[in-house]
Amino acid sequence: MLHLALLLAAPVANPDVVVIRADHLFLGHGEPIENGALVITDGKITAAGAAVKAPEGAVVIEHKGWATPGLFGAVTMDGIGSERRDNTRPLMPEARIVHSLRPHAAALAQNLRAGVTTITINPDTGRPCTGASALVKTHGPAVVDPELQLCFDISYGAVKSDEHPTSLASLQELLDEKLAGGAGSFGRAAAGELPVLIRARDRQSIRSASALAKTHGLRGALFGSFWAEGLVDEIEGSGLGVICDPVGIAANKRAMRSILALSERGVKVGFGLVTPANSPLNMRVGAAMCVKAGLDPNIALAAMTGAAAEISGAGDHAGVLAVGRDADFVLWSGSPIELSSSLEEVWVDGQRVHGGDDE
């Protein structure tokens, strides 16, 4: 009866339009907006910012706390079980990990509950070129992009002793040749159409990856920040961003110092989720540890959202709250940089999919 009365009192009520007002609204980059609002129409964001007017009849939700884009989980091996690596060939540029995706994998839902709404699913490292990663929404799940980045590993561990290439030098030569050749996915990467993700586990491979990107005009990211301190010049010159190695409890100080050094020079950084070795919560731990070590909290927030998505080649689909984008966001009790903040609600495509009154 009460519901009916409300409906009658508001004849223009439009349940397809939802307005979220939050004390602090972080859009995925820049500074958080105080008393910001999001307007969501049919699952898409139609307005976002400080001076946003609620359309007539919209359902208005007041949130005491923070609203941020759904977290971006860069570099996961979620939902692919043991189908992580093909050891038979060094180069598999046309392989697509999306074919291994098991939609019911528990890890996807676990990400969602931690506020991670979009992930990249990557083939395991350990071989020079392992094909393309996929961009997947953890609710559903829904494949957003089946060929997101072309994945490389040019660290020492990717070279075998009994199969060409048997040295880092010949690996570099082989990749130079393929990227210059312009065929298939290599060609698309060299033309800047297909972003890359290059695993660089040590100083040597950071230098090689930077050179490779500079020579062939690759765009995308290095994956591996630990040894970046001292190589910031090379990385900056390559134009690549850096997906950071997870920074966990007890992490070596170098891990934080390197990330700080990169961000101070304006290199875009994103925190790697790197499952299954890490829990989805670990990304926030890493952000907190970097902030404790001196990283700007807004850069740390962007490294879990907008910046991470952008350097992963997913900038058009995830990580930011902007007009025309899917309304994928998280409501927190406080800043997600504070580990004492708790996740309250997760929304995907304008629908609440976790938390809130339902629980």
């Binding site: 676990q110 907190a288 404790k292 004492s340």
Partner: protein, 482 residues
Amino acid sequence: MRKFSTRNPFALSALMACAWCPAMAASSGDTVVIHAGEVIVRPGEVVKDVDVLVIDGVIRRVEAGIEVPEDARELSGEVVCAGLIDPWSALGVHPIEAEFSSPSPATRTADSLDPFGQEFQKKQALASGVTAVRVQASRRALVSGLSSVVSLGSTGGEDLMASEEAALSASVGLTNPSSGGSSFAMGRNGRGLPSGGFTVTETGPTPMDPFERIGQVDKIASLLASGISYRITQNKYVEERKEWEEAIAEKVKKLEKDFKKAKKDRDKEIEEAKEDGKEFKEEKYKEDKPPKAPKFDADKEALARAANGEIPLVVEVHRTAEIRNLLQATEGFGRLRMVIAGGTEAGAFAEQLAERNISVIVNPGPQGSGAYDEFDGYDVTLAGVLAEAGVDVLIGTGGQASGATRDLALLAAMAVGGGMETEDAFAAITSGPASIFDLSDRGTVEFGKQADLLILDGQPLSTTTSVKAVLVGGRVVVEPKE
């Protein structure tokens, strides 16, 4: 959450007796006054705009407008609180000793500590506000021996140990990460233990099956029982010895009274024996034979102390079945002060743990799905669930990675994110560990306590807070940066 009680009121009252007087302060070189925007006196009790007076390493006053004594060093900051205590750390324990060696119950971690080891990690921990840690070597052994509480501000001297024997530690069901034959397994048959024949290699390098793990619970229970019977035997001896001494005294008294006659009789008997060409036989008294003292056994003594509640027993245990069995097996030990470490799946036992006054040291570090099976079901909400039910929850860094102690405050913050009250989480790394491990002079900012103090620019559990200065025993060990 239950309020932690002060177990040793004597330290406090003793200090009360020598209350501060200005004349004394003027002559003391080690006087510090901290002007604080707020002082977290103890968890949940905050006083605004006060000063803290420290003389000779002890907190003497916490009140507004303290007159600064001459020669006193003045410091100031927004928030002052007690130094953090990591109740489950590996800091200072050599990695080889940390995981698995062959300890016995009386093995003291204190003896394996290098006061100058891991200097870098200690500095980092101190700089982030941790002033004391409980450390335990050989965490994967069934019984790991006696743990120690180490003061991090120490210069390596007398003040290094806050408590040399803070608890007896044990573990149940820890699978070894280096399963399949590591160097740990070789020649590591432990010293034979009282219960007969088990060796520490049973917690060794290979993963155990569930029955083996449950068997470990029984072993811990029977070890405790052996400690108790050892103690009974010891006490019985003390009793018998006392009776014997009394009987002797009685006899001596009687003999002294009749001394002259007795001497005369004896002399006569000696004479007679001589005449007969026989050997004189001295009269035997049953009091001549003292009761036999039982053999001292350091291991059983350590077990007895734990079984009797003289020191806490910390048991690292994670899985449901093992926790259930441990709770059952220890039910009969009425004086046992048990502390569960880890307790990954302890949430289901919250009520029972609260009722039996068993505290839990939670390590809220997030685990990936690739974690060892003992961490299956790990959930960052555990600390909150237990505290909600009234369990005394401590938060520790897990006793594996010595670098983790630096991040203790972040772990406590994570527990808050998982549903624990901020106040409880702060208690879990300050007054809680002090209370559970009998460090009665630490853990709060109160009259008479040792001045282990932090000066912060924000709330202790916040990511954006930095530690401006640290005092240990009244000494500034982390200097404020100007």
